[in-house]
């Protein structure tokens, strides 16, 4: 499922150092520059010292580029990319708790879930939890269909994105390994000993 180009919505992906306070620096930047963002997700990557952020902005390309150049100025932000119209996969995950206390609603929920990439992950006599994964637009469409049966609780992760194909968004960055550097210096390497 490829994202449909939405005229104003832009996705920014940033690789950042997995260090204490980095999220705070980014949040502080958004606040003091009065940048309005739709969603921000952050999670680990396959490299323990790198986290990856997906930022969704509902204000067009130029605004997104301004955010990107400001993000890039933060020392702990390693690489920023604005996903313009390049093809990418995007996913949003929602957990939706709905009423499930009569046969009618049970049937409706099952029927809706069958038509979406959604599944019921918990079910009881009164409520059920649905897990729905998809593009932002499809998740929203799903939520509107389920809404009449009675949503009692909901959480969404916000969107995560990844470019398609061989355009790899990664970094060789390794934070200076102190133990290694000190060992090297002891052996007469790249350090100054007194």
């Amino acid at each position: 499922m490829t994202a449909q180009p939405d005229n104003n919505k832009v996705t920014i992906v940033a690789l950042v150092e997995n260090e204490p306070g980095v999220l705070n620096r980014i949040a502080s930047l958004f606040r003091r520059r009065a940048f309005n963002i739709d969603s921000l997700t952050v999670g680990r990557t396959h490299k323990p010292h790198i986290s990856r952020m997906t930022i969704r902005v509902d204000a067009g390309q130029e605004y997104a580029k301004r955010i990107a150049t400001n993000l890039q100025k933060l020392v702990n932000v390693i690489d920023v990319r604005v996903l313009d119209n390049e093809p990418h996969v995007e996913r949003d995950l929602a957990l939706i708790k709905v009423r499930n206390d009569d046969a009618n609603s049970r049937n409706t929920i099952t029927e809706i879930c069958d038509r979406y990439p959604a599944r019921i992950v918990d079910i009881g006599p009164k409520v059920a939890i649905i897990e729905m994964v998809g593009t932002e637009a499809i998740v929203e469409q799903f939520i509107e269909e389920v809404r009449p049966t009675g949503i009692v609780e909901m959480i969404r992760t916000g969107m995560v994105s990844m470019g398609r194909g061989t355009r790899i968004h990664d970094t060789d960055f390794t934070r200076h390994d102190l133990a290694q550097a000190i060992a090297q210096a002891r052996a007469g390497g790249n350090g100054h000993k007194i």
């Binding site: 306070g21 301004r66 100025k73 020392v75 690489d79 350090g191 000993k193 007194i194």
Partner: protein
């Protein structure tokens, strides 16, 4: 050899060629102050009277020399007192490293005595900051801090060091070679496409203007600027912090731009068909109303900070790069050109301005700030380092003290920090001990940091203080006169007798009330090795003209009436 964190800090400072630091001791930074005793012969510590003074001194030192200025304070109130100075340095891209003590790591987060979340507080007003949690990282962090402070768009970096990290010992290893930070790589060169684009716009322009900012001096591109202006015969308007980027008596320089800029510059910008903005950021004090700003002009914008391009003004050619490098890419292909009609038009505006110049008025019995600054300029041969505070005297300094050399005007432009001038002058003097340094301050701003008189005396700092005393917060009063129907709320000042105050600090002093007394007083101050103070009692209700009211169009200036015209 095992060193304590405190000793490592001092060793790192030595390796960064630091020979002076400005600070104030306290509990959480005491281990470092104790380590200082081993380094007093190589690094001089200046004891300030308030930590704000330490940050402004480090800033003044940095601006005068281009090197990193260093200040140091204890945790909690010591660190929070630095904040104004850090914000000032941040806005004007001045390289500072601030070292602060912090409560021991186990106490962090417990509301311990003198504990403040200093990295949190200073996050928005520093280029970067660190909380050191492991003594093994300290040397690396110190090296990174200096690297980040001085490279790219310079700025303040704070290193917060808990007391137990200062005490802990480890083997000291200073990383050699260049710091590599993949998340931090300031731009340097322009692409060929960008250079061609810029050359194209310059060749097509009939009414070009160069806007010269602070970045020219920080990049060391003053020669390149002059060559650009001379070869393509492009007039140069200066920002406040751009003063000194080209000699002001150069025929291509048409004056400062902006709210209190020269009419010639502002009108030229509004009529230009090309702006070449170099190392400046289109601050609102420079542009006035953005909607009507230089509407007919295409724009080339070159700045080292990519986030400045298109921020306030859309550039037709935007180049994120180092000015010296980019101009050297551009100049070999720049054709000679001239714009005689355009220069004639600007010359007419300059002539009109000189007719309105207050110095050409008969003002018997009055002492005006413009006269004080003008006479100070001529008596110092126009060659002193002047460090101003903020307000009317600052704008009049900018108008009446032409600077011929880079980094000879030091002033808080972006943040407009009252209280900056005097401590920054002390810092500048440490950076340039052989130069004549004048702190030009108002009566309001001086009182914010005048405690540093004790510092100046203790250090025998050869700084001359010129207090422009109008017994008012003059610039605020001017706004009240123009926009609040002269309701002078909280602007009249009760002032101490500044000369008797100077006496109490054993600072030689003079009080000047008449223009005829200026020369004797200035010569008196110049002849003394050590701090001096001159109080200039000037007209109470002066105006700074021209003035573009905040948010008004840049050409919509309030002008001083010509002689004979009604005010």
């Amino acid at each position: 050899m095992q060193l304590s964190g405190a000793e490592i800090i001092m060793e790192c400072l030595l390796r960064e060629s630091v020979d002076v630091m400005f600070g104030y001791p306290g509990g959480a930074i005491l281990p470092t102050y104790d380590a200082m005793t081993l380094y007093n012969d190589r690094i001089h510590h200046v004891l300030v009277r308030h930590e704000q003074g330490a940050s402004h001194m480090a800033d003044g030192y940095a601006r005068a020399t281009g090197d990193v200025g260093v200040c140091i304070a204890t945790s909690g109130p010591g660190a929070t007192n630095l904040v104004t100075g850090l914000a000032t340095a941040m806005m004007d891209s001045s390289p500072i490293v601030a070292i602060t003590g912090q409560v021991p790591i186990p106490a962090i987060g417990s509301d311990a005595f003198q504990e403040t979340d200093v990295t949190g507080v200073t996050l928005p007003v520093t280029k970067h900051n660190y909380l050191v949690t492991d003594v093994n990282e300290l040397a690396y962090i110190m090296k990174e801090a200096f690297h980040i402070a001085r490279t790219g768009r310079p700025g303040p970096v704070l290193v917060d060091v808990p007391k137990d990290v200062q005490i802990a010992k480890t083997e000291f290893i200073y990383p050699e070679g260049d710091i590599v930070l993949p998340g931090y790589s300031p731009p340097s060169t322009a692409s060929q496409h960008q250079i061609d684009g810029a050359l194209q716009l310059i060749s097509e322009a009939e009414r070009p203007v160069i806007l010269a900012g602070h970045g020219i001096m920080m990049s060391g591109a003053t020669q390149e600027l002059q060559e650009l202006a001379e070869r393509a015969q492009i007039p140069v308007a200066l920002t406040l912090l751009g003063k000194g980027s080209m000699p002001e008596n150069h025929p291509m320089v048409i004056g400062m731009m902006g709210m209190h800029g020269e009419a010639s510059s502002n009108l030229a910008i509004q009529e230009a068909d090309l702006l070449i903005a170099l190392g400046m950021r289109f601050d609102d004090r420079v542009t006035g109303n953005l909607k009507t700003y230089a509407q007919n002009a295409r724009k080339i914008h070159i700045d080292i900070d990519p986030s400045e391009i298109h921020k306030n003004v859309r550039a037709d050619v935007g180049i994120a790069g180092d000015l010296k490098i980019v101009l050297n890419q551009l100049l070999p292909k720049l054709a000679r050109k001239s714009h005689p009609q355009w220069m004639n038009r600007i010359r007419d505006w300059l002539e009109d301005s000189s007719e309105r110049d207050i110095l050409n008025y008969e003002t018997p019995g009055r002492l005006l700030t413009a006269q004080v600054i003008n006479d100070l300029w001529s008596l110092t041969g126009g060659d002193a380092i002047t460090v101003t505070d903020v307000g009317q005297h600052q704008m009049l300094e900018a108008q009446y003290y032409p600077h011929q050399r880079p980094s000879t005007l030091i002033t808080s432009g972006g943040l407009g920090t009252m209280g900056f001038g005097f401590p920054a002058a002390i810092g500048a003097k440490f950076g340039k001990p052989d130069e004549e340094v004048w702190a030009i301050v108002g009566d309001g701003g001086f009182q914010m940091t005048m405690c540093e008189m004790a510092t100046a005396v203790q250090e025998n700092s050869n700084v001359n203080i010129a207090i422009i005393n109008n017994n008012f917060l003059g610039m605020v009063r001017q706004w009240q006169e123009l926009f609040y129907e002269k309701r002078y709320q909280a602007t009249p000042m009760f002032n101490p007798d500044f000369c008797r105050l100077a006496d109490a600090f054993s600072i030689p002093n003079r009080c000047v009330r008449q223009r005829e007394e200026i020369e004797e007083a200035v010569n008196f101050a110049r002849g003394i090795d050590g701090p001096t103070l001159i109080e200039f009692v000037v007209e109470k209700e002066e105006m700074v003209y021209p003035m573009v009211p905040a948010g008004a169009d840049l050409h919509d200036m309030k002008r001083r009436p010509k002689p004979g015209e009604a005010e």
